[in-house]
């Protein structure tokens, strides 16, 4: 028998059924979708459109199997440039390295204001950046229409992300409020050379360099220390971005429990 090994057909079944049964199924499907197939005519109908939802008979907010845009949908980012503190945490947290901090007007020459520029060609929409943002100025929105004929247009400048924010699209930005890092920035005083890098780069400017008395020379020190200053972190203003730790040339700043 040619069909041996195939369990799909029952030998005692009338072969006529092999023809009539699928045809009946197809006819049933045909009559069901004759008036309105299940497909959503996307550019003309949108799931989130209330008119469309009333047409297919679903109250807004109630998910139908192919429901509305869910509240926790992660689409294009929205950026509020005004509240951005240029802390770089979004770029730090990005697993795809698609965020680059670019200068935007509004900062002073000593502290240029830098805001995220996102390359959606690389972005995986994980949302870590908006979770990491201490000020809540970078959020994911439910906007999903990104298609463009050019790759260069996939890179959204801060201004473009600001426009998404200004559109006030009918979408609910979600953001997981991460528990604030209990640790503080601590200093290992003997290593510090008082270079001011941490205070210069702190986005919230919560680090001030305070004068200290002339310290004792470190063991094996050839030239005596010339700058008698040490950073002091204002713990309530700190957003725990870690910029100071990463810029410290002597690795004398570290995380630790405050005393």
């Amino acid at each position: 028998m040619a069909n041996e090994g195939h369990a799909t057909t029952k030998p005692d079944e009338n072969p006529i059924l092999w023809v009539t049964r699928p045809m009946a199924t197809a006819a049933r499907q045909f009559t069901k979708s004759l008036w309105r197939p299940s497909t959503i005519v996307y550019p003309y109908e949108r799931l989130e459109d209330p008119g469309f939802r009333s047409k297919v008979g679903v109250a807004s907010g109630v998910p139908i199997g192919v429901g509305p845009i869910w509240d926790n949908y992660r689409g294009v980012h929205a950026l509020n440039i005004a509240t951005c503190i240029s802390c770089n945490l979004c770029a730090f947290s990005c697993p795809d390295l698609c965020i680059e901090m670019v200068t935007v007007p509004g900062g002073d020459p000593k502290h240029p204001k830098k805001c995220p520029e996102i390359d959606y060609g690389k972005c995986s929409y994980c949302g870590f950046c908006s979770d990491a943002c201490p000020e809540g100025c970078l959020t994911m929105t439910t906007r999903y229409e990104l298609s463009t004929p050019k790759r260069s247009e996939m890179v959204y400048s801060p201004e473009k992300l600001q426009q998404v924010f200004q559109h006030k699209l009918p979408m609910n930005p979600i953001r997981i409020e991460l528990p604030k890092n209990e640790d503080s920035i601590l200093l290992d005083p003997p290593l510090c050379i008082g270079c001011n890098a941490c205070a210069r780069d702190c986005p919230t400017q919560c680090i001030t360099m305070l004068d200290i008395p002339k310290p004792d020379p470190r063991p094996g020190e050839k030239t005596p220390r010339r700058i008698w200053k040490e950073p002091v972190v204002n713990d309530s203003d700190c957003v725990r971005c870690g910029t100071c730790i990463s810029v410290c040339p002597k690795e004398c700043l570290f995380w630790g429990a405050p005393k």
Binding site: A2, V19, P22, M23, F30, K32, S33, P37
Partner: protein
């Protein structure tokens, strides 16, 4: 009122065109242009042009019809963006294919490579010169028009095989072999089913066959032959479930693997032309052609061009049946295909021939009525 026929329309168009041409010519040339021979000659050309345009337009509409129906069978919509309900989508596709370059494979046989699709297309078009569309809308009374149509229809395996062979590609060749085997296997039951119709109608002329169905359509007494004819026609058209030579899901398009651009469009169009011919033949042989049953109100069939309208409705409905089969059934295997063709179809077709002979012998069918030309 003289009946409107295709030839009279073509003749009037030709006379009008030549009249316009003659009015701007000097008197000597005008006499030549307006002579009967010139008008008749141009009328034949116009006749052919009208047939060509009608067949191509219907073919493209048929593709649209299949796409829309298949969409509904699959719970989607089919083409819908270009033109109203996607009517112009296939024209756009054709235009795209028309603009494409055709690359013959290296060491392909150039003559066969170009001759195959062209001949396939031309023979498929030629059948339309034979099929009557309505009373008067045909190319004259051909006593053996059914035989001629089926003869041209059966040329196809040759051209498919030629183009598959000259593609210089083993997949094309295998597809061509399968196609030829399939078409030959189903040629016999197809013709036997037609024999049943011919026995009942007593003629090979398609117009006469339709005329003989004025008491009852032949699908009643010859239901068996109808089933055999439709199944064999599906195999001849290489449509699902008998599309193994092409098998788009698992093979590389079978015998037209190496074809692109307009040559591929030729194959595509010719396939649908043959599907159209198949549907038309089913309508002509079994469903009463352009006539309506006698219990239908006369108003439905007495307005001008009603015959063509009902003919088109029936043709598209029959093609809808083919689409329904395509949406339902999976593809069969080669051995199943050939076994069904030789072992099942031929006995069934022979049985239907005997049935037709029995009907002719007793002259009348209990419920339906009598065979008209032999009528009691």
């Amino acid at each position: 009122m003289a009946t409107l026929t295709l030839y009279s329309v073509a003749y009037d168009i030709a006379r009008g065109l030549l009249g316009v041409l003659g009015s701007v010519l000097p008197a000597g040339a005008r006499a030549v242009v307006l002579s009967g021979d010139a008008v008749t000659g141009l009328a034949v050309l116009v006749f052919a042009a009208v047939l060509l345009a009608a067949s191509m337009l219907n073919t493209i509409l048929l593709i649209w019809w299949e796409r829309k129906l298949l969409g509904r069978f699959m719970d989607r919509r089919g083409a819908m963006h270009v033109g109203y309900a996607g009517l112009l989508q296939n024209f756009a596709d054709g235009l795209k294919l028309f603009r494409k370059h055709t690359f013959p494979p290296r060491e392909a046989d150039g003559l066969g490579f170009y001759f195959g699709p062209t001949a396939y297309m031309v023979t498929s078009l030629a059948i339309f010169g034979i099929l009557p569309i309505s009373s008067g809308w045909n190319s004259g009374a051909l006593p053996l028009s059914l035989l001629l149509a089926l003869t041209i229809f059966s040329f196809a395996p040759l051209f498919i095989f030629v183009s598959a062979w000259s593609s210089n590609n083993k997949y094309s060749l295998m597809g061509g072999l399968r196609s030829a085997a399939q078409m030959i296997a189903y040629e016999v039951p197809l013709l036997l089913a037609v024999v049943a119709v011919v026995v009942l109608a007593g003629s090979f002329d398609l117009t006469t066959i339709v005329y003989e169905q004025r008491n009852y359509w032949f699908w009643g007494p010859l239901f068996l032959a109808l089933i055999v004819f439709v199944a064999a026609m599906l195999a001849e058209m290489e449509r699902i479930p008998f599309d193994l030579p092409e098998a788009e899901a698992e093979l590389v398009e079978g015998w037209n693997t190496e074809y692109g651009g307009m040559l591929f469009a030729f194959f595509m169009l010719a396939d649908y032309l043959r599907a159209l011919v198949g549907s038309i033949l089913v309508v002509l042989l079994f469903l009463g052609g352009w006539t309506l049953p006698s219990w239908v109100p006369a108003g439905l069939s007495s307005f001008p061009l009603a015959g063509i309208l009902w003919f088109m409705v029936k043709t598209y409905a029959v093609f809808g049946l083919f689409v329904w089969v395509r949406a339902s059934l999976p593809r069969v295997r080669t051995d199943q295909l050939l076994r069904v063709g030789w072992n099942r179809m031929i006995p069934l077709a022979l049985l239907s021939v005997f049935l037709a002979a029995a009907v002719v012998t007793v002259r009348c069918v209990p419920v339906l009525g009598c065979v008209p030309s032999m009528g009691a």
